[in-house]
Symmetry: C2
Subunit: 135 residues, 2 copies
DNA sequence: CATTTGCACTTGCAATATGCAAGTAAAATT
DNA sequence: AATTTTACTTGCATATTGCAAGTGCAAATG
């Protein structure tokens, strides 16, 4: 997405200015499920993001402090990406999207299983998952 | 946005295929706050959507059953748009985006006031607001 | 230690989407 | 009857996306 041109003072609009495109939330999703991803990991996702788009989204998400780069422990050729706290804090948004989607589309079984846990104790689920990602 | 080309079976991706652009959620936002809007009402929003983009988004949201058209009670020249149940059900998503934004940006006072209510009783807030929109 | 492979990007270009300004047609107002 | 309002549509310039191929460095292989 684009740099810091805010279209208004609305929080929805401001948020969309950062991650309101067809790809950013999928990158964030991948990091929520995997905790750490390499460039190649993102490219493996079902949706088949183009390499140039991936590079531009990673840069923009990093500029907006949603994700950060880490050195890969066993190779200088690899880069690890992970969510910052600001990124992890998007988890409730991702969860509500899941819950909405579950009401209106068929969704994969593993996601259904996850949502079963979510519904049992949403706050608890988020707390545990956040700990997992930030620890 | 585009027609029904699903990029994957992921619920996040499926959702973004419908409203994952810079404008759709703003239209939905306007309808959450106003319940019913005319074409001209949408054009008045701070973000200044272009008329052609507005028309294309309204059409796509209608095709996806997020919004519906209604006859305006006192004029055939006017059209009213409102959220369907499927659209109203996006409220938790919009609320979580607000809560996230509040943590990381300055947000307007009226939204802050709203979030204060939300935080007091999220389920109650959603129930009441949904009733308001669907009644 | 030379060569190949893997990884994270860049680059070039075509296709698509966005944004702006102006236009249109029907309905309402004057 | 003429003007204005309303909901769009159209044309065109600009920006973004998507695809395919390429680049450069690091690591593995022979």
């Amino acid at each position: 997405m684009n740099k810091t041109k805010k279209r208004s003072d609305c929080p929805i609009s401001n948020s969309l200015d950062i991650w309101g495109d067809k790809w950013s939330l999928l990158i964030i999703r991948d990091l929520m499920f995997a905790k750490e991803c390499t460039y190649g990991d993102f490219l493996k996702a079902q949706e088949r993001i183009a390499t140039n788009i991936l590079a531009s989204r990673l840069q923009s998400l990093e500029e907006n402090k949603i994700i950060e780069k880490l050195d890969h422990p066993d190779s200088k050729a690899k880069v690890l990406y992970r969510l910052t706290k600001k990124g992890v804090d998007l988890m409730p948004v991702l969860i509500e999207i899941h819950l909405w989607a579950e009401k209106y589309f068929p969704i994969p079984d593993d996601r259904k299983a996850m949502l079963k846990d979510v519904k049992k104790d949403k706050a608890g689920f988020i707390k545990a998952a956040t700990k997992e990602l930030m620890g």
